[in-house]
């Protein structure tokens, strides 16, 4: 009798399990900022290029970048793109779009409170559009489950920045994401490829937590104003070699500027002997 009860219970559980999606991602998620807090919330110190495989083109851009450029009217309400938006203060909602006949998931939808961005991750196997299709800040995304990990590929992303201190991203950026849920926590891994500004893939991870009570503050009514009294046609910049803040981060943390600005080689443990040589120079 006991085996019969257990058997029926097991059969019921199997029948109730979803056919494809392994884990439920639906809900409202907000950031946990213990990791890379400085970069993600207040923003990093000027000249902090550590951890980014930036190439020479990115270095030139970063050298010329004045952080007050975001105060220019045209840039004040410019959203972060999909390869950057999860790195700032953010909460986002995920829900499912299901085929009414089969109840299979056609797409995951996302809405983020920061800049009120909408995003669709197509799960129905459709192809990405041709390269000439217009780019958006959230790009075009397709996803598939690998075990309990949702992997998302995104193309057609508008150019923006990887960091607010002036590390640029190009419109050839592509993004691979992994969504990995552990209870009420969501690990989000990003692998960014950019042939214009990165010499190799840029890998980042961040954690989000399910908001059990939700959040009522989802609106982002950005308006253009003269934030700072200035000529509205002025675009702040620095000529090559004239950026007075480019070494601020290196000085603050006592690091050689070559190491901070060194790109991909500085990301690996093999760089440590070179760093030690520079530190003792």
């Amino acid at each position: 009798m006991r085996y019969l009860v257990v058997g029926v219970a097991l059969l019921t559980a199997v029948a109730a399990a979803p056919a494809r999606a392994q884990l439920n991602l639906v809900g409202e998620w907000t950031g946990r900022y213990h990791e890379d807090q400085g970069d993600r919330v207040p923003g990093d110190v000027q000249g902090d290029f550590t951890g980014v495989p930036l190439n020479d083109a990115a270095r030139k851009y970063a050298e010329a970048f004045d952080v007050t450029r975001v105060a220019v009217l045209e840039h004040q309400c410019q959203p972060y793109n999909v390869a950057h938006i999860y790195r700032g203060p953010i909460q986002f909602r995920i829900w499912e779009e299901k085929d009414p006949a089969t109840q299979e998931i056609i797409a995951y939808r996302q809405f983020s409170g920061t800049y009120m961005q909408w995003r669709t991750i197509w799960m129905d196997g459709r192809a990405h559009p041709p390269a000439y299709v217009p780019h958006t800040h959230m790009g075009f995304s397709t996803g598939e489950w690998h075990g309990d990990i949702l992997t998302v590929n995104t193309t057609h992303i508008k150019k923006e920045f990887y960091r607010r201190s002036g590390i640029p991203s190009s419109d050839l950026t592509t993004l691979v994401e992994h969504y990995i849920r552990h209870g009420n926590l969501l690990s989000h891994v990003m692998i960014i490829t950019d042939p214009v500004y990165l010499s190799e893939p840029y890998v980042l991870s961040q954690e989000f937590v399910l908001m059990e009570r939700g959040n009522q503050n989802w609106l982002y009514n950005c308006t253009y104003v003269m934030e700072v009294p200035m000529d509205k046609n002025d675009v702040p910049y620095y000529l090559p070699g004239r950026n007075p803040f480019i070494e601020d981060s290196a000085k603050q943390f006592g690091l050689p500027f070559e190491a901070v600005f060194g790109g991909a080689p500085t990301l690996y443990p093999e760089y440590q002997p070179a760093l030690e040589r520079l530190m003792t120079r």
Partner: protein, 133 residues
Amino acid sequence: MRIRWLLIAPAAALTVLAGAAAAHHSFTATYFEDRTTEIEGKLLQFMFRNPHSFVHVEAPDENGQLHRWAVEWGGAGQLAGQGVTNQTLRVGDVVSITRNPGRDPSDHRIRMQYLRRNSDGFEWGRNPGETFN
């Protein structure tokens, strides 16, 4: 026990901050966050908005020269959660502001740390949660 609370408090604060998301430029890159000074003057304009609100104040610098200071404050959504509305401040209010100075002094751009309106004692920046990102 005291140490445990010290660890929990910043973590809780970060979670609360995250609830009302704002984003724009890097504060650390724009302001000297380790320095504070004070100005007192007449409010010229209050722009209650996202990504960040701005208050323009006419006030003298250390040398007594009058400037129009652009004081950066929280985003409308975040300040609304702290009881600040677009009616909280009025043109002509005389206010005292403690602030982080901008890295480029010629911008006269500063970041709000504390505000007090002299006429009625209205304050922002001293109570728990009165902060912005």
